[in-house]
């Protein structure tokens, strides 16, 4: 029998626990917890399933053709078709996003968080931005189609592109991610405590000096993480590009200058996936290989963002 005081106490606790539970096992609680675990495992299982399918079907093509697949242009023969043009197009689109949305988005966030007082302008802009972030991506495609392709077509893509040029796609993408950049940057700015600003104001800094030398450096990791993630979002986005006329099919043009490239036709990695997905089954392995490239890029970018967040995150 129980001899030490500790053992006696434990035995006592056991008796009380039995009395409360009525001596029965609580099957319903176990079933509920099992259900929750099951649902979570199902969710994670779908992800694992998807990644496995992509890897198993896509890896052989990449292993066989290697660099050739990554650099070849679009073609009607699956064994020759590659994602070279698609990768180039996607990189161009990312350049548009980085050059246009990042400065504009961060600037807007700085104004909303640091400059604007609690005025109607700030409230209105805040709610406009929040709602813009919830607008389906395809609606941005319609915006791009109406404004850039049709209205400004002669300017952004004269000649054979008839408006459906890289500029139109890039501007559409930049507009699409702008609200996300604003929201994530504003959150990062808000996380910088007011005392930092007050210290700078206290020694006579102007508002811009406070922002430049104190607020932005402290908010930078958060802003970078947010902008990287929004870039990843743009990298995988397809629907608006389909509407503003990323090439479906193939195109076979050599552009001589940067301007010609910008005003010419283009395609992107996700639109190539979409295009090939609707082709005959002989393209099946190519689709998986292109998806593998797409997901690999996204995983690397996401991992980078998470690493940056963990590395530089600051708790106040």
């Amino acid at each position: 029998m129980a001899s030490t005081p500790r053992a006696q106490a434990l035995a006592g606790a056991e008796v009380v626990r039995r009395a409360i539970q009525g001596g029965r096992t609580d099957w319903r609680s176990i079933a509920f917890q099992g259900l929750l675990v099951g649902l979570l495992i199902l969710t994670l299982g779908v992800l694992a399933w998807l990644l496995t399918v992509v890897l198993v079907n896509g890896a052989p093509v990449l292993a066989d053709r290697g660099v050739d697949f990554l650099t070849s242009p679009l073609a009607s023969n699956p064994s020759e078709a590659g994602v070279g043009q698609a990768i180039a197009g996607s990189l161009w689109l990312m350049a548009f996003v980085a050059v246009l949305s990042f400065p504009l988005g961060i600037g807007a966030a700085v104004y909303l968080e640091e400059y604007a007082r609690d005025s109607w302008f700030r409230n209105m802009t805040n709610s406009v931005v929040r709602n813009l972030a919830g607008v389906p991506a395809i609606v941005y495609g319609l915006l791009g189609l109406a404004i850039f392709v049709v209205a400004l077509g002669d300017f952004v893509g004269p000649g054979p592109a008839s408006g459906r040029s890289l500029i139109a796609g890039g501007l559409t993408m930049a507009i699409l991610v702008l609200p996300i950049v604003i929201i994530t940057s504003a959150e990062a700015l808000r996380a910088v405590p007011g005392s930092i600003r007050e210290a700078a104001f206290g020694v006579g800094a102007t508002r811009w000096e406070v922002v430049r030398s104190h607020v932005l450096p402290y908010a930078a990791p958060g802003i970078f993480t947010g902008t990287i993630l929004s870039m990843a979002r743009a990298f995988g986005e397809t629907a608006p590009l389909v509407l503003v006329g990323a090439v479906i099919g193939g195109f076979n043009v050599q552009y001589d200058s940067v301007l010609e490239t910008l005003q010419g036709r283009y395609t992107a990695l996700p639109t190539t996936v979409y295009d090939w997905a609707r082709k005959p089954p002989s393209f099946g392995e190519n689709v998986y290989a292109a998806i593998l490239v797409l997901i690999a890029v996204l995983l690397i970018v996401n991992a980078l963002a998470i690493y940056l967040r963990n590395r530089f995150e600051r708790r106040w």
């Binding site: 995988g236 996700p270 997905a277």
Partner: protein, 314 residues
């Protein structure tokens, strides 16, 4: 009063303002930032203008009776809205049937049951799932879900692509969104409420379902509304897996191929050379887009309103 010798000269406001150059730079920076933040308003105006212009052109030219016919064949000038509305609703509902149990289950488990270590591991994995592009899920739905899951639900489904496959794909896509918004809401419920419940002898299950879930109800409902809104606006999964190219007959059978609003738009656009030629097909694109914009806007505003109206402040 006479001046006391040795007293420093009196400062005026002008002395405190600093140099003119500094003030001018300050103003310039301020105007730049103001311009940047005005651009988002400009964008929303552009969206509304570009949608409404063409949508009006469509609605004034089309025979209104045709809008309520069954069947969506824009190339033949048959614009039956019930067809694409039914398809959209069907896909969104199937998506929610998948995403609600998966998302809420994951949220309750992560917020109430999981150890910190499990939480730290699983949340980034869910973020990865959230980051999978929709084209990828569309192809997965068409190639993998349709022959396995859908064939079990709909024996004798003849078409590889159908609304059920698209709906399940959309459900997988919005599960991480539902899970993360709902989990945030439940995790934000203060510990004291849980402790009070445990002190009364409640089990963990009772505490989760009867204390934490009701306390977080505004966030949970918002998560579901946002998921629905995302499901209605989801494009690529449906374009790839729902099976309608160009036109579609009216159907409410999920085992059949069908057309949604979003897929109707990409279908119109991928025949882009014809879209410009055909008289009504091009403006119809914007009319459908305007409807979609209004639907999702209403849902998003509802989610926002719900969070504010029902939120309990602790």
């Amino acid at each position: 009063m006479t001046a006391i010798a040795g007293q420093p000269p009196r400062l005026t406001v002008a002395d405190l303002r600093g140099s003119i150059g500094r003030r001018r730079r300050e103003l310039l920076v301020r105007v730049l930032f103001l311009t940047a933040s005005s651009i988002s308003i400009l964008i929303s105006l552009l969206i509304i203008v570009s949608l409404i212009g063409e949508a009006l052109a469509f609605i004034t030219q089309v025979e209104l009776g045709l809008l309520f016919e069954r069947g969506w064949f824009p190339r033949r000038e048959l614009f039956g809205l019930p067809t694409i509305l039914a398809g959209t609703l069907l896909v969104a509902v199937i998506g929610m049937l998948v995403a609600t149990p998966l998302g809420l289950g994951a949220a309750i488990y992560l917020s109430e049951y999981a150890s910190p270590r499990v939480r730290r591991t699983v949340k980034p994995i869910l973020e990865v799932l959230a980051g999978i592009p929709s084209v990828v899920l569309g192809y997965f739905a068409l190639q993998i879900i349709s022959p396995t899951v859908v064939d079990t639900i709909c024996p004798g489904a003849t078409e590889a692509s159908n609304l059920a496959a698209a709906g399940i794909g959309v459900g997988i896509l919005i599960t991480p969104l539902v899970a993360s918004v709902a989990e945030d809401a439940m995790y934000a419920v203060p510990r004291s409420l849980r402790e009070a419940s445990y002190a009364l002898g409640a089990r963990r299950r009772t505490t989760s379902l009867s204390v934490v879930l009701p306390a977080a109800v505004s966030g949970v409902v918002a998560a579901l509304i946002l998921g629905l809104s995302r499901g209605i606006g989801e494009t690529m999964v449906v374009s790839i897996a729902a099976g309608a190219t160009g036109g579609s007959l009216f159907t409410v059978n999920p085992c059949q191929p069908g057309q949604t609003m979003t897929a109707a738009m990409t279908a119109l656009a991928t025949g882009s050379d014809q879209v410009r030629g055909a008289t009504l097909a091009f403006p119809s694109l914007f009319f459908v887009g305007l409807l979609l914009f209004v639907f999702t806007l209403v849902l998003n505003l509802a989610a926002d309103r719900f969070v504010r109206r029902v939120r309990i402040r602790y």
